[in-house]
Symmetry: C3
Subunit: 677 residues, 3 copies
Amino acid sequence: MEANKLRIADLLHGADYNPEQWLDHPDILARDIELMKEAHCNVVSMGMFSWSMLEPEEGNYQFEWLESVINNLYNNGIYTFLSTPSGARPHWLAKKYPEVLRVEKNRVRNLFGLRHNHCYTSPAYREKVAQINGELAKRFANHPGVLLWHLSNEYGGECHCPLCQEAFRNWLKQKYQTLDALNDAWWTTFWSHRYTSWDQIESPAPHGEMMLHGLNLDWYRFVSHQTLDFVKWEKDSVKSYNPELPVTINMMYYFYGINYFDTKDLIDIVSWDSYPVWHKAGTTDLEIGCDTAMMHDIMRSIKNEPFLLMESTPSMTNWQNVAKLKKPGMHMLSSMQAVAHGSNSVQYFQWRKSRGASEKFHGAVVDHYGKSDTRVFREVSELGQRLEGLTPLTKTCNQAQVAILFDWENRWAIDDMQGPRNIGMHYKETVQQHYKAFWKMGIPTDFVDMSCDISKYKVLVAPMMYLLRNGFEQKIKAFVEAGGTLITTYWSGIVNETDLCYLEGTPHGLMDVVGLRSEEIDGLFDGETNSASATTSSWLTQSESYTCSELCDLIIPSTAKTLMTYNEDFYTNQPALTVNSFGQGQAYYIATKFEDKFYDDFYAQVLEELGIKRPLDTALPEGIIITDREGYLFIQNFNREAVIIPALPTSCHLIDGDKDIHHDFTLNPFEVLIVHN
Amino acid sequence: MEANKLRIADLLHGADYNPEQWLDHPDILARDIELMKEAHCNVVSMGMFSWSMLEPEEGNYQFEWLESVINNLYNNGIYTFLSTPSGARPHWLAKKYPEVLRVEKNRVRNLFGLRHNHCYTSPAYREKVAQINGELAKRFANHPGVLLWHLSNEYGGECHCPLCQEAFRNWLKQKYQTLDALNDAWWTTFWSHRYTSWDQIESPAPHGEMMLHGLNLDWYRFVSHQTLDFVKWEKDSVKSYNPELPVTINMMYYFYGINYFDTKDLIDIVSWDSYPVWHKAGTTDLEIGCDTAMMHDIMRSIKNEPFLLMESTPSMTNWQNVAKLKKPGMHMLSSMQAVAHGSNSVQYFQWRKSRGASEKFHGAVVDHYGKSDTRVFREVSELGQRLEGLTPLTKTCNQAQVAILFDWENRWAIDDMQGPRNIGMHYKETVQQHYKAFWKMGIPTDFVDMSCDISKYKVLVAPMMYLLRNGFEQKIKAFVEAGGTLITTYWSGIVNETDLCYLEGTPHGLMDVVGLRSEEIDGLFDGETNSASATTSSWLTQSESYTCSELCDLIIPSTAKTLMTYNEDFYTNQPALTVNSFGQGQAYYIATKFEDKFYDDFYAQVLEELGIKRPLDTALPEGIIITDREGYLFIQNFNREAVIIPALPTSCHLIDGDKDIHHDFTLNPFEVLIVHN
Amino acid sequence: MEANKLRIADLLHGADYNPEQWLDHPDILARDIELMKEAHCNVVSMGMFSWSMLEPEEGNYQFEWLESVINNLYNNGIYTFLSTPSGARPHWLAKKYPEVLRVEKNRVRNLFGLRHNHCYTSPAYREKVAQINGELAKRFANHPGVLLWHLSNEYGGECHCPLCQEAFRNWLKQKYQTLDALNDAWWTTFWSHRYTSWDQIESPAPHGEMMLHGLNLDWYRFVSHQTLDFVKWEKDSVKSYNPELPVTINMMYYFYGINYFDTKDLIDIVSWDSYPVWHKAGTTDLEIGCDTAMMHDIMRSIKNEPFLLMESTPSMTNWQNVAKLKKPGMHMLSSMQAVAHGSNSVQYFQWRKSRGASEKFHGAVVDHYGKSDTRVFREVSELGQRLEGLTPLTKTCNQAQVAILFDWENRWAIDDMQGPRNIGMHYKETVQQHYKAFWKMGIPTDFVDMSCDISKYKVLVAPMMYLLRNGFEQKIKAFVEAGGTLITTYWSGIVNETDLCYLEGTPHGLMDVVGLRSEEIDGLFDGETNSASATTSSWLTQSESYTCSELCDLIIPSTAKTLMTYNEDFYTNQPALTVNSFGQGQAYYIATKFEDKFYDDFYAQVLEELGIKRPLDTALPEGIIITDREGYLFIQNFNREAVIIPALPTSCHLIDGDKDIHHDFTLNPFEVLIVHN
């Protein structure tokens, strides 16, 4: 993030702060500032749930309390991210303008309640939001303590009201121009579903249409579009008084309803709310760390800039199945992991636990107990102190030669398919299997979708490209021709942008690049497996065989060379892994879903051949992950036990603390070390 | 099927064909005909999803494209089954006549969408269907290429709209005449539910009445009746222009909502759509084969004539949990199995995969790829060629001495019971345990319901006759008295036609036939078992004991002889299997649900005593099934491995191929051999 | 129960009787009386489902049949509990006054159907109920055969109609007086939910508000209040003609929707309907016996007087997953268990099985078979005969020194929490773990809620007092100060009456009593465990360690002494069990959910220290339970096998039968012996 985005150079440390809940406790508000300083906090997010206190009745704005808090904080060295209040509307608004409440898929309008319960199309909602946003901007957009606009809160959800139906139809008209074009694109002749008038179109419904995949896909696109259009509306409403004050929206974990890549040019800074289920039964913290790391990398990749960790918990997450405590050290590790992957902040929801309502047991910096002599407060303070020493990091950003394709439109389309495996295609999990191999080696990776430029990378990993957006095959072709290395898999190039099957062979547009054609694909039940082994001519010989599952593509190579073949079922000896030379580059095709070990071995060889090096050429114990933020290496112990790390090269120097890293040294459970190389 | 039913003598081979999806691709339509000939196809089903193309706006009929396709096919030796289009109505119809859309149990009217979404009562729907059917009949009923009317598609579902409520009340008035009669029949005094006016009667609803079993049962009957009344309406609408052209409806796998036995006199030919989950995890292809065989036998039994396999897949079924490929040979086996049980056709859904919408990945003869050099196309062609040599089979039909009772009304009543086992009575599965014993021995069986004539059989197997329709006990009595052998079980003769319990002892009306009375019945939890062993006086001594589960009837024999007794719990040594002589016949009573092996051993002995012989007196390996179609024996290998078959008697001769069957020979995985004996 | 409550001194034995179903079978009605006498029955409950027969059309009362039955019974020595018919309204009533039907949470009004389907607020319903109740009272309240009013049937359920919304708002106005008070109490500032007008308040809804815990909790209270207000309405309507005739309501197994402790002053006699799943797979009859015993003890505790077992089954329960038969002897055991815990009756639903409708397979004294030569009838008769010999018992009642806290409001609040463990806090099960230790030792226990007087007990067991009603901490303090022994646990004193968290440390108000503060609580996944062992200074040394699970409280002792510490995770060696001296008493704090064995060992030691003795100082085999009803000891064998009981002290004498109990003797499976000590 550059200076014109956020006015300060420090790493940020702070929390969502909801003083409106405590206005009748001035002692508590005063104590908060003392405690924030004790915890080394320099920022709060405020206002996201304050509408009913900021405008208790229509047009009656009460901003004094907010200004007073902002001033007090600023006078104590604490900045404010100011939120627009649209994430939770007041009762009077819903009572006066019922259209602001959402209509669900069943076409029943919600009652007032919860948070995500407003129609993004409603003119009434847009108007009232713009009014209060404008008033807030007028008062605060030039306040020296206000650093950033935090638009609304965790945008999401959909509405099926008549206003949204109309907006959807208009969006379709603009996209398709004619009903014939729409009928063709959605293949409505099947089951006699041809539309003969625009007003016959209805959003998907459990008691109406739900199997017309073209409709479903366009509905996903429309909902994402309409939500981001609302974001733009809010952004415009606050930019008028100070166009320089940047805006962010706080995004969510692999959120489904918004194509986050489409926020790239809309917002100034990316931020997100991270709530991993650390210490979850049946898995390891290493696995959870990988899942979180991938999300951090996606967030950084949207703008290819540092992002903000807008929310996290210093302790338990009350809405998860089991609210486990973070074990000692895990708060340091999980916070530093965010910084390692490009975050310029560590922030919490929330500063102080609410006394009532649904999140009162969510972990916070300050407990109901109210004092600082708690384990949680101590760990937060230690982190705050350490972050103060890492200011130079804010000017750096992770640099990748490897791009991984993770495409929201493809994700929507895959999940909506009927066949070949209705009990789970596992798109995200499959992408993550590939990612994990790189993450464990410490190789930086960016994420791209099909709208992104891929020409600058050396390697493109593109699993399960079911929906191949029109023209993306040309980008891939050019990429490989110019010397790039493509790794793709089964179930790629199957349908076009409106989910119509490509004719005359798959993977569409890439049969020459990969040098093969897919003839059939076999679905396996959960628990069913096959396996594959290297052919004698192959270089991949580390393991006798790798188990595979879920889907087995049966392919017919043309120019591709077979590296591995299946070991079981009627397709024994048919190819399971191939490589093809194309132009200056080469293209691998993985025909099935392998176990993790395959990806470790496979990518190690691919990278070796390409001369892409790991940040440290040291054999490290299991569970030790190195993340490279432009030369700053974060050495992270995801084990519950201490481990011995071999001496690091002399080129490395320690950024903080006083370990002797040039001899073998110990990393405690969940400990993080930062070195520069 | 006799000549007046279908004008040609050949076995049919073909597919659902949806050319309306490809009208703007004349090259593809032309290629289709070439490929059909290459695949040895002689029939297609057309028109079932074509309404929006046949009548794009009300009263504007566009039949030219259809006539052109029918003509082209006919000129190339391919016949047409012409479908009425009522299975999927066009948008304009639902928009103009909202009453055509169904109302669900919750009393909310559906939006337009999916297929089964029309009210069978609606006068508007009936009128528009009759109009287009009439137009189709006028144009095509005398076309030489049209062989059969395929009415609508997979009739089913129910509607709770005001029109249906009214029709239901009228149906009840006709049935019961007075409210007093209805109140008595449904036992409404319980819980103060007595009706005092006909308009108080509502169909079952989750937010209304759902525990009044008499009401539920009559609702099932009404829905079945109303659907078949609609079938009759459609039939009448097409018969006017050529009463000789036969009609069929394509039925579904053990479909619940229609009493298929009631179609006997309504339709000219029975047909059904078969989609077994071959190669399913956790079971064997032999088990799946048995389940499919039973459904084939039910279909043949409805009219006691050959039927048609109207739909099947040559490859994967996209709407199943996992879309597995049919392994090589399975397509031949599953198709020939249908013929073995009485089918005169093998047909597919569909000829060519659609480009879009919900069934685009359903296996078809022609893939999106578009050419014939695929494994699936080759296997279809091989089958087509083989079927051409089997023309004499169409004049034969399977002949049975054993009848098995499978009664739709009993099925509805059992599933709606409260007690004695609400986690599963498994009526169909229980009937199938009995069936399996005969199927594995190669003994032909017919299926009957309580409305059928049973006098012509030697053996009647009647498991769990919970609902004993009024008077059926007299048929059984006459049957046994005349020398028949009855096998019945626990939980028989419990309620009458309106689900009122019979008083004064059960099995009602049969206590003298079986020579016992049931006193209590114990429910067992899943996983709980008991077992039973032969008494010393018994002839059933093959096994030390047989495990039983689910339900244990505690019976008090009068004249019956005890053959087996329980081994555990407080009813140790009480009878578990009895036999009673009655008139010229005898009646067995099986008091509990045994493991499969019991039925194998038990029926082997029963048949031996009765002198009913297997079609081949040869010991065959596990997984080899022989099915006897009037002297044509289909020897089917349901194993994934090849097996050795002992030399067949010299009386057998091979129908096609050139194996030497009079010496030991090999059957490959899924191979089928047809011999005549 | 004293004389002014029920006019007769005998133990009662009888059943729900529904003669209105058999009015056209006078032979059956006559036979019923013969059979009742054969079964030693002296009471029936009548009329609960008779409204449609008592008032077939509005205002047309037909009571002759009822009077005739009551007279016949009375002339044969059989008394009547007369039910008001409001538990199942007739069709005509719902048709004429639609407001009597319930509106569900989704704001959709039910159709007529089932039983619990009437609005307790509806003026129309109240009026029609009062009218027929008044007519019944006028006719029968002074009938010598009528012993008791049985108001309605199993009250329960909730309604969200506009009338109930209005009543709810009025109830809230009365409770909170101002909206500000309500907003503060519910902490509505969170998520901007502040109410600015009373009419913005709506009951919880899945499509509206459902996460505002203060609202949810008050809704539970309102529903319970409104239901009991309806009970009062019914009571008033029948008391006018004979204020001396007592009333009861038949309660249900751990029913959720009514705070049964609030019925204490409303009804004259407590009764309940008990349907344990005896012989359930995966558990033991001993466990089920404990669960049932606890419910009996709760029922007795409500008024601290004998209660009635109003319903039970002599055989199977048709609506359970599996309708198992009661094994021989279990009927005696389960019936006598009720008497042992304070019941003055054993009654059944129902006398004779209905012929139709949803409960026709529910076990009854008389089967559809209709005669008395059945196992069930024999076991019922044997019980009836034995009860006739136990008349003196009706004047006794169980006496306890130990009270266990089971609080409905706390239960509602715990189940509605978000965090710390959303997959199950198991409040009832946790309370039962404590109860079981006492039950197995034969120590009588009473149940209390936070409104009860606790000063008379020696021991108060109060697990998981999450919601500590305002002021209850003072009762506890006084109790311990005066010498009482308190046992409480983790997750106590967390929130106040409106679910607002207490500030400044927990357990609120009790930190001095228990001598510690809770800092954090860790949630464990299902299957995850920790364990704890005694510190060397502790007296609890029977076991090396006890497993614990679900929740681990991390506490900081001040004056408390640590008795046990954790063995695993980062809180190894932190306290898991403490004791604190406070005033004349002491307070134990159990920090985690232990396995059963812990409670056995722990309470054995606590009772020994307090000098509280078991009723018999004899080592008994596993599965033998002794229950002490004021000197009458019921020795109950919950095993399926016979066991040997050591000779009882000479102070014991047998109440019925002729065993020699002063030498070792055998108890058969499920046998019950009654001795006086």
